[in-house]
């Protein structure tokens, strides 16, 4: 039987999520054996035509050309999975959505007329139908492997949607908010990183994006009671997942 064809695509991003695939050092040769890597520009100069069984898409849409490109990729892909905060929420570059993009261009480039870009950085799912969204900035290697394995086996991937807060409780980690008074997005952020920030005595900074039905209003009220100012609250929600609806709405309340 022919091996399933895998394609990896890049849009506006830092390459960190694709790199996570290459960081599966122990599994990489096995993955390459189980799948036909048909398109993965960062890793191979061999390019095979579609259609593709699985497309992994990194990065956000920020140009008119990329809006067309993602449609063509969708048409060629049986299963399309967006990986990482750029692809699922627009990434850090979606901070432009809250500002005037022409001001941004002028601040960086001497000849803004050479630059063509859209006013908004948007998620892949805003443009085409997406079969699964894997969160994280970057995605977790373990979740990525689970997702690829599950997709190949035709089963549902085991990727929990619970909060980071639940994850800390399960691991018996000391709560940084209670013990240190540190601002933490754990109550409203989806788990999956492996408790990284709280176990390093810092507050969760939300790189896995909002959990299902987060109560951000309640969290903000609590943080405000601990002394957080409106600009601090706004900045907290406005980072790698600034464009995710729940975080965007909450950050605007503190504008």
């Amino acid at each position: 039987m022919a091996r399933p064809k895998l394609a990896v695509w890049k849009f506006s991003s830092c390459d960190g999520c694709q790199l996570t695939i290459l960081d599966c050092e122990d599994e990489l040769l096995e993955i390459a054996g189980a799948l036909d890597i048909a398109q993965f520009l960062e890793a191979t100069s061999e390019v095979k035509d579609g259609p593709y069984d699985i497309s992994l898409v990194e990065g956000s849409i920020t140009t008119a050309h990329d809006m067309e490109r993602i449609k063509a990729i969708r048409a060629q892909s049986k299963v399309l999975i967006s990986i990482g905060a750029c692809a699922t929420a627009g990434g850090i570059q979606a901070l432009r959505n809250f500002a005037d993009v022409e001001d941004f261009t002028r601040a960086v480039y001497a000849h803004p007329e050479y630059i063509s870009t859209l006013a908004q950085s948007t998620a892949i799912a805003d443009h085409v139908q997406v079969d699964f969204e894997l969160r994280g900035c970057p995605v977790s290697k373990h979740q990525l492997l689970e997702l690829i394995t599950a997709t190949l086996a035709g089963r549902k991937p085991h990727v929990p949607r619970a909060s980071q807060c639940m994850e800390c409780k399960r691991a018996g980690a000391v709560c940084v908010m209670v013990s240190q008074g540190t601002a933490c997005l754990g109550p409203v952020t989806q788990a999956g990183c492996g408790n990284l920030c709280p176990s390093h005595r810092r507050g969760c900074y939300g790189c896995f994006g909002p959990k299902e039905t987060p109560n951000a209003v309640a969290l903000s009220a609590r943080l405000a009671a601990q002394g957080a100012t409106p600009p601090q609250l706004r900045a907290l929600y406005r980072s790698f997942n600034a464009g995710a609806a729940d975080f965007a709405t909450e950050s605007r309340r503190h504008d």
């Binding site: 390459d15 040769l29 390093h200 601090q232």
Partner: protein
């Protein structure tokens, strides 16, 4: 006259989106462009108004392959702006972490992205079919670099444990000591991979580069020292803008760096090595000699060997620092709310990464300037391409295109950093 065009619209085995365009009119090279068209992400603009403490976490997202370079340059620049000096123990831990980034980034490039060029193969998977042990060894080396990133930084891509002023939490002595056997193995294995790569056939090419890197009195520079060159330049990071300029050209979404007099210059492993050879360990210098490298190496294709020599050094250096490790206490220095302007320059795997921030009395960023290595190398890459094309006019298009792509990969260009990379078009008119 026949026109000949060589064009690559999507370069492979580079980080980010780039393209190449070469046009020949007969034997005349008319146009050479290394284009970077990764869409802009406006980091300098989106940092404005943010608390300077957030800068390292945000700038790390410029590049998933070299986040430490952005974290370190930005942290040090904000410390400079607010008048803070970190302790020697914090600095030593930063250097050990940075060794991890050099290792994983260099091994990824040398073994997986660049080596296939010399073997006429498409990728490392194809190398594994002919030489599985070599690829397995390279993967283990890369993993050992990521181990340093995870144990010290908490995560291989976009570490969470670093902050302006130091670290959130100092790793325990046991956790650091547990890495030593693998680091010792890595130093030896890096040498073996270097010697294996030394058997490649290297295209003949040399030029008299202006090599710009950090320089230092006692340490092979990583995140310390002044900016120097093989032409006698010796300036502090704060002098960067007096000697280098960035210009914006139509074909590129990256700014290009040049010396004030307009000359291109080279940053990265070849420059660091040439300017600091005497500061490498004796074992790393021995490997360099055994690979046939001179004390100064001007053949850009041999950068793959210099990278592996630096990997060996980074393993030895990380092991030395691990053996001497003292948990920094405190793990970080508090950053005051104080206005100022700060500069820093550190050695990203691909070369110097310069940052400058203006911070107000509320510690907010007023102005940010970030100069990544690939935008500095872009004019030199184009100069190399012009030279290489002119010297190889008799090659057919496919061979010439391959050679051009290989020439670009000599630089391990990080287009995501430079904002975008290359598309190759060769036109033969």
């Amino acid at each position: 006259m026949t026109e000949r065009v060589i064009e690559v619209n999507e370069l492979a085995r580079v980080e980010g989106e780039g393209a190449l365009y070469v046009r020949l009119n007969g034997r005349q090279v008319e146009r050479v462009e290394f284009k970077i068209h990764e869409p802009p992400r406006f980091f300098e603009a989106l940092l404005r108004g943010r608390d300077a403490m957030e800068v390292p976490d945000i700038t790390s997202r410029i590049c998933g392959i070299c986040p430490i370079a952005y974290i370190m340059s930005s942290s040090q620049a904000v410390e400079d702006a607010t008048g803070v000096a970190v302790t020697p123990d914090i600095h030593a831990l930063r250097r050990m972490l940075y060794c991890g980034e050099w290792i994983q980034s260099h091994v990824l490039h040398a073994a997986m992205l660049h080596a296939p060029d010399f073997l006429n193969l498409h990728d490392a998977i194809a190398i594994a079919q002919v030489n599985p042990d070599l690829v397995k060894k390279a993967l283990r080396l890369k993993k050992a670099g990521n181990m340093l990133m995870e144990v010290i930084g908490g995560r291989a891509v976009h570490p969470v444990n670093t902050r302006v002023g130091g670290f959130y939490k100092a790793p325990s002595r046991q956790a650091i000591a547990a890495m030593i056997p693998e680091l010792d193995w890595g130093a030896q294995a890096a040498r073996e991979v270097a010697l294996a790569f030394a058997g490649f056939t290297f295209p003949q090419d040399e030029t008299d580069y202006i090599f710009v890197s950090l320089i230092h009195d006692t340490l092979y520079p990583i995140c310390e020292g002044r900016i120097g060159s093989n032409r006698g330049l010796d300036i502090p990071a704060s002098g960067f803008n007096d000697h280098f300029v960035e210009e914006h050209v139509a074909r590129s979404n990256a700014l290009q760096g040049r010396m004030r007099d307009g000359s291109p210059y080279l940053v990265g492993p070849l420059a660091r090595y040439a300017n600091n050879y005497h500061l490498l360990s004796e074992a790393a210098r021995q490997t360099a000699r055994d690979c046939g490298l001179g004390e100064v190496e001007r053949n850009p294709y041999k950068s793959i060997l210099v990278r592996m020599v630096e990997v060996q050094y980074a393993f030895e250096e990380a092991a030395r620092l691990a053996r001497a490790y003292q948990e920094p206490s405190p793990a970080f220095i508090e950053i005051p709310h104080r206005a100022g302007v700060g500069h820093a320059c550190t050695e990203a795997p691909r070369g110097i990464c310069y940052h400058r921030y203006e911070v107000d009395a509320q510690r907010r960023v007023v102005m940010a300037q970030i100069v990544p290595p690939t935008s500095q190398n872009q004019p030199q890459i184009e100069a190399d391409l012009a030279r290489v094309v002119a010297a190889n006019l008799d090659m057919d298009d496919a061979a010439l295109q391959w050679r051009c792509e290989q020439t670009i990969r000599n630089y391990d260009p990080c287009i995501s950093c430079a904002t975008h990379f290359l598309k190759l078009t060769v036109e033969r008119v």
